[in-house]
Amino acid sequence: SFYCHSSLTPELKTTLDKVVSSQKVVLFMKGTKDFPQCGFSNTVVQILRSLNVPFETINILENEMLRQGLKEYSSWPTFPQLYIEGEFFGGCDITVEAYKSGELQELVEKAMCS
């Protein structure tokens, strides 16, 4: 069946390893930072903007292989997906929670200085 077939090829994994560490903060989302196409993605964009942090966004709606592969790569079933310093941080709810507690700002500041 469809689900037995892995979308995360070794090539895609290598590419993703590079992409998530290309910038300190990388967001895989529906749409772009200037035109988010989903409320959850928009929420995370607004949070990153308010933290005044440089970040890269990648539109997963434009690449179905990337979209499926990423779910396996991060073992996370939904989008947006936020990466900080090459490491998966969480989806929308986790990001909102960490923003409210101040943990996100701390982590991002640490990442920028490293």
Binding site: W76, I94, E97
Partner: protein, 93 residues
């Protein structure tokens, strides 16, 4: 094929044995978008990311048909008790 609120509720109940569980249908009835509040002993000693992974993992089958799942709360019984007490004291004040 849609997923029902009852289905989400019963899967989470059987896999995470929560002491408190609230599943809210946020789809306006089409059954593919939910918000969840869950309190379980299985969250003890786990970071938020790991707790959310547990919830997502429990719903792996359903996730294929769910468009959006928002985990509003994933607390341990102890945290839940504290949160309720602080809410009660606010209302009383």
């Amino acid at each position: 094929m849609g997923v029902t609120k009852e289905q989400v509720h019963s899967t989470l109940t059987s896999k995470l044995s929560p002491i408190h569980l609230e599943v809210i249908d946020t789809s306006g009835g089409c059954g593919a978008s939910f918000a969840v509040e869950i309190v379980s002993e299985q969250f003890e000693g786990k970071r938020l990311l790991e707790r959310h992974r547990l919830v997502n993992g429990a719903l792996a089958e359903e996730m294929k048909d769910i468009h959006a799942l928002s985990i509003k709360k994933a607390l341990t019984p102890e945290q839940w008790k504290q949160q309720q007490e602080s809410e009660n004291s606010k209302t009383a004040a």
